[in-house]
Symmetry: C2
Subunit: 437 residues, 2 copies
Amino acid sequence: MTQADTLIHAGHIIPVVPRGEVLENHSLAIADGRISAILPREQAQTITAAEVLDLPGHALFPGFVNSHGHAAMSLLRGYADDLALMPWLEEHIWPLEMQHASAEFVRDGAELAIAEMLRAGTTCFSDMYFFPNVVADVAQQVGVRCQLSFPIFDFPSAWGADSDDYISKGLALRDDHKHSELLQVVFGPHAPYTVNPAALGKVAMLAAELDLPIHIHLHETAREIEDSLAEHGQRPLARLYELGLIGPRTQCVHMTSVEEDEIALLAEVGAHVIHCPESNMKLASGRCPVPALLAAGVNVALGTDSAASNNDLSLPGEMRSAALLAKHGEGDATALPAATVLEMATINGARAMGLQEDIGSLEVGKLADLVAVDFAQPETQPLYNPVSQLVYATDAEQVTHSWVAGKALLAERRLLSLDLDDVLTRANRWAKTIVSG
Amino acid sequence: MTQADTLIHAGHIIPVVPRGEVLENHSLAIADGRISAILPREQAQTITAAEVLDLPGHALFPGFVNSHGHAAMSLLRGYADDLALMPWLEEHIWPLEMQHASAEFVRDGAELAIAEMLRAGTTCFSDMYFFPNVVADVAQQVGVRCQLSFPIFDFPSAWGADSDDYISKGLALRDDHKHSELLQVVFGPHAPYTVNPAALGKVAMLAAELDLPIHIHLHETAREIEDSLAEHGQRPLARLYELGLIGPRTQCVHMTSVEEDEIALLAEVGAHVIHCPESNMKLASGRCPVPALLAAGVNVALGTDSAASNNDLSLPGEMRSAALLAKHGEGDATALPAATVLEMATINGARAMGLQEDIGSLEVGKLADLVAVDFAQPETQPLYNPVSQLVYATDAEQVTHSWVAGKALLAERRLLSLDLDDVLTRANRWAKTIVSG
């Protein structure tokens, strides 16, 4: 007999690695926060566990990795819709943030976002926003995994004065959480057009020295590229590459416009692309050519962006949108099939963050970051192919359980480490404050 | 004091007509199946009702009208994904239907579809499938509103032998339900390429005589148009127009390719377009130019198509996809704003079916077909704009109540007129039968 902390009997297990595999009537054991066994149910009698869960109509899969977002902006969900990126930012979002984005705002917004993400099956999220120290505390308290890319701008905010100040605060935050099992602190230069070249060069140098990821908005819109050509005579990717910023730990977010030689460059240096289809569509920013990037060997992960431009933080919905947009854009219904999209939402996100040895798939030895969905509902019956069902038919409502490093955070859709009523009360209070100006 | 059957106090009422209007803290009264009053809550004391509901965190709006689908095909959800339209139909769906699409299959599939649709806020759906008589019985029994377009093909199925047989069976069905308060039976010639010209002409003549709508798949793919040009020297719309089939009661489903003169023709004759963005994207069929159609004055409604090509029957998701696809396709983030998309999912669907005097908006005197969503959830907080929230952030999970002609069909997400366990058991049994061949 072997001992485990938790033993889960599941109707279906989708390990993600190997691609497309589905294990029927298998059991998964968790010990010391890691997956200690995955085996046919009838062989699981050899395992004793403190907690045993029977989920016969459910599928178990690696928790979603939301590879790009601004959690606190959930407080601005639906505040300004049906607008293009720059007027949306310049006339609505940025003025509002200048006025309201305090530590308290970030705490309340991050809690709201985490509540929504956990209910939709996300167990690890990437965040880029002011007061990353506050998000760090919230994530730690709730027990959810998080990549914090501390923001770097030339202009001041309530959190920093200028790029140097942002960098030094960010590095201090990184030191605070160097040994955290849940948090990873990385560089977050906002975009090529909001950070000066000297600061971008400094980020490149420090990131190389510390072997830390860089998370940056890049080629989000055609205007960004036109402006760069006009001002610098170069497209942003080429400019950042010259500044040393594009390498195997760089997470390029959006990339709605990518030429052939740029795809080759990304593949050659091993940079990662974070695709945010719903935000790109909603802001009419263009379309990231995901199939071409994947074919060239570029790692492409999936992100929701913020609830202010999406307007939800649901990876199930984002997977569906990614698949549908690729098929539509390529004029090819076989483009980006379900198993590939599921990889983008799990293992590819882990790879982008350099966490692929620990999360992103269900394999013995990996951290027990996992999620269960209940297929025994009218939206997900009948069931022919669990992978297809997860990508094309599942919504947050089907997500029932989640664990991060073996700790249960969601059970029967109940949040175990957040006081939801309190979170909603505070969110509501912020809306009143913001509307009253 | 006036008397009502049901009185609902709602935090927000979105009547849809007039566009974009939101009434805060209002009450809606239902008497004899119709809306008898909409008034500020403090004035609702003058109304006594047998049933009073307090929904302070909810929004009340006209039930969604799903303007195109094949309900029974829910039993094929996820059976064959990531394939283009013609191989998907010819190699997977049609052979399977030839083998299995019996009256029993249609009953079980329709019940599954209706369960899903009610849980997502649909109160009226358009259906086109074999055994429409069975769907009629199911819809009547459950109490949901339905437009049944009886299918017409040249080729035989378990329901009919040839186009004449389909037409005579359909007209008999229409006679059976001529006085139904829930059902409307209309002509459903499948597509220009599956019905011979003589039969199409007969449909045109009979529909004009009986003043009945015609529901037809049209311009679904580029291949359909190329084939028509090769075979007939005409695009399908022009051909059907010459056959007398395109008029003010014609519902043209898909229309992914429409030239300028075709938009002008549709506007001039007052034909309706049914847009199915998710199915069109998933099958890589192209994009219906909704903004241009609306600008020309064409009525455009929204449909999910079947769960076999979507893979859900959720109008909230379809609204979001319609808005996002339009913004992306037009390169204009202001295209198809939330209030317009909501009209497509409600009043425009009613107009397409000729039911706009009775359903599609919350107005005194109209039938009480309405739905409540609970915004007090992390996915839909905070709340700035209820219309935006309904289109961009709401999913089935937020849908709590629905009524059709004043009769409650859903309460706190519980289906009141369907035995869900039984529905799921039968759906599951079909999957086993189908997989075992």
